[in-house]
């Protein structure tokens, strides 16, 4: 028994280290954002908010932020609409070829973004279409779609079908059942998908580098440019705002899912 306890303690310590390894480096960036020295070195020479104050004064960063926000908004809404419809069909209709369709819709998760990037660019080139904001949006929809399908599908499959059957027995048609029963129950997952699709688009960089129209940048491609062509001290303040934003959105997604889930409203079994 003690040997087992010792082993579990070892596993616990290993788990702690692994989680620190995955998450702690982000904290170092946040610390560096307040460092007075522009080079991002240790030990910290003094604290300042200067690098944060300088962000809104940089027109390149403001422009990139506009592009990123518009792109993430468009692509996450489109991916969520198409993905939720597909997930509903996969979860509720026993049609022939269902498994193959599900695989087809989710397997793009495995395709490295560099391949998606060059492939879509060549397809557009073959059709004679120029690089444009539209290319960015459709590309980002394709990248986010599988995550939306999976998250929503898993949630829909977890909803007991008896509830829907009961509503139907009481005379509701399919549309009524969907809007009154299924949609409210699946809403936490749909909302999580929407937020995750938004962040996925906002953070995407590899494929985006191929799709950007001339003189356009997104926040992540601007950070790449800052890393490669300059030693801009604003890189840490910009990155730490990105980290705080991402964590904020993740927490928001979690809280929203909790607040909306039927379990939270007191029907916990």
């Amino acid at each position: 028994m003690t040997r087992r306890n010792l082993f579990h303690q070892f596993l616990g310590a290993l788990t702690l280290l692994v989680f620190l390894f995955m998450l702690a480096p982000a904290l170092v960036v946040v610390v560096q954002a307040f460092n007075e020295s522009p080079a991002g070195n240790f030990p910290i020479s003094g604290l300042t908010l200067r690098w944060f104050a300088a962000l809104p004064e940089d027109p390149a960063i403001v422009g990139a932020l506009h592009t990123s926000l518009a792109l993430a908004a468009w692509s996450s809404v489109l991916a969520t609409l198409a993905g939720t419809a597909a997930a509903y069909a996969l979860a509720r209709f026993p049609f022939r070829g269902r498994d193959q369709v599900q695989l087809f819709l989710t397997v793009p998760i495995l395709v490295p973004h560099i391949v998606l990037g060059v492939g879509l660019l060549l397809a557009f080139r073959m059709l004679g279409l120029p690089k444009s904001f539209t290319l960015l949006v459709v590309g980002h929809v394709a990248i986010a779609l599988p995550y939306v399908v999976l998250t929503t599908l898993h949630r829909l499959q977890a909803i007991p079908t008896q509830i829907e059957d009961a509503a139907r027995t009481l005379g509701a048609n399919r549309l009524q059942v969907f809007t009154a029963i299924t949609l409210p129950l699946a809403l936490p997952a749909i909302l999580t998908s929407l937020l995750f699709a938004f962040m996925t688009s906002f953070d995407e960089v590899t494929a985006t580098l191929f799709w950007l129209p001339p003189n356009t940048e997104t926040i992540p491609t601007h950070i790449m440019a800052m890393l490669q062509f300059s030693t801009d001290p604003k890189i840490h303040s910009l990155s730490s705002l990105l980290i705080l934003g991402s964590v904020g959105v993740a927490v928001m997604a979690l809280l929203a899912a909790r607040a909306l889930s039927p379990d939270a409203r007191g029907s916990r079994r």
Partner: protein, 297 residues
């Protein structure tokens, strides 16, 4: 809609509605994933003129160059070695924590699973660059090591193979742990208890019951990690040095710097080939339906 509502129970009913709901998503994958891969295929057989223009004339020149020039084989070999190393490290380091999470009481388990997904919300570029102030000459590690007098000169921790592997492991480890965890969820605790009752030690029960049942998760994690490591462009770009450029960097250079689209297309298709081979192997060993299963908190 009326027909769907009246005959709801009949098997196969509502097929029309199902397909119309699927239509936008299917079009999206077909147009923006499948058609692009087909265009890569076409371009890889087209001719590139000395001027750089692409002529839609069939040629094997690009593939001949890819297979004939040992530079490409060397680059591919180096990248496969890197992807293998990253996959092995992730599997070895990730199995323990994934297993530990399944042992926890529900509340703490939910917290750790949530934390496990946190990195995937944070920008990949930022996660990669976060190693710069840690590993640099005047970074956190070196300033600590110099401060306590363990080393006299700062260690070269950055812009080499070490920092690239570290960055990739940090990027891919959460995915590996999630997949191993999904696999472990399929194990019924009662089976393990039965094995213990029948006289097996903890280790015997683990290797005879838990591991074989949970292994599709590990396999899915390895497939995902390997393919994504093979196609990783950002990590070597940020954390690598002059000698640590990998296959995806080569693809990028071929497209952007050399503007050789047909050769770049052929190079990209090699990644797709490895992806398909990996999927076929996974389908044979574990069954494709075990991929992308739900994570329960």
């Amino acid at each position: 809609m009326a027909a769907a509502a009246s005959g709801f129970r009949a098997p196969g009913d509502g097929g029309g509605l199902a397909w119309s709901l699927l239509f936008p998503a299917l079009c999206c994958v077909a147009a923006f994933v499948i058609v692009p891969v087909i265009s890569l295929g076409l371009y890889s057989f087209w001719e590139r003129l000395p001027t750089g223009a692409v002529q839609q004339v069939f040629t094997l020149a690009n593939w001949r160059e890819l297979f004939g020039d040992s530079y490409y084989a060397g680059m591919l070999g180096k990248t496969l070695k890197l992807a293998t190393a990253v996959t092995l490290v992730c599997a070895l380091v990730g199995y323990g924590p994934a297993y530990y999470i399944t042992l926890l009481p529900p509340r703490r388990r939910a917290v750790l699973v949530t934390l496990l997904f946190l990195p995937s919300w944070i920008s990949y570029v930022v996660r990669s660059m976060s190693w710069l102030p840690i590993l640099g000459k005047e970074g956190l590690f070196n300033s600590i090591l110099l401060g306590v007098g363990l080393v006299r000169e700062p260690l070269p921790l950055l812009y080499n193979e070490f920092s690239v592997v570290l960055g990739m492991v940090q990027f891919l480890l959460p995915l590996m742990i999630v997949n191993i965890y999904i696999g472990l969820q399929a194990v019924d605790r009662k089976l393990v208890d039965a094995a213990r009752t029948l006289g097996a030690t903890d280790a015997q029960a683990f290797f005879a019951v838990t591991f074989p049942i949970a292994w599709p998760g590990l396999a899915a994690g390895c497939l995902l990690t390997f393919i994504l490591a093979m196609g990783a462009y950002i990590t070597p770009q940020i954390l690598g040095g002059p000698g640590t450029s990998y296959y995806a960097n080569l693809v990028f250079e071929t497209f952007v710097a050399q503007q050789d689209w047909p050769l770049g297309a052929a190079l990209s298709l090699v990644i797709i080939f490895f992806l398909i081979a990996g999927l076929v192997l996974y389908g044979r060993l574990a069954g494709l339906s075990t991929m992308f299963r739900e994570v329960r908190r």
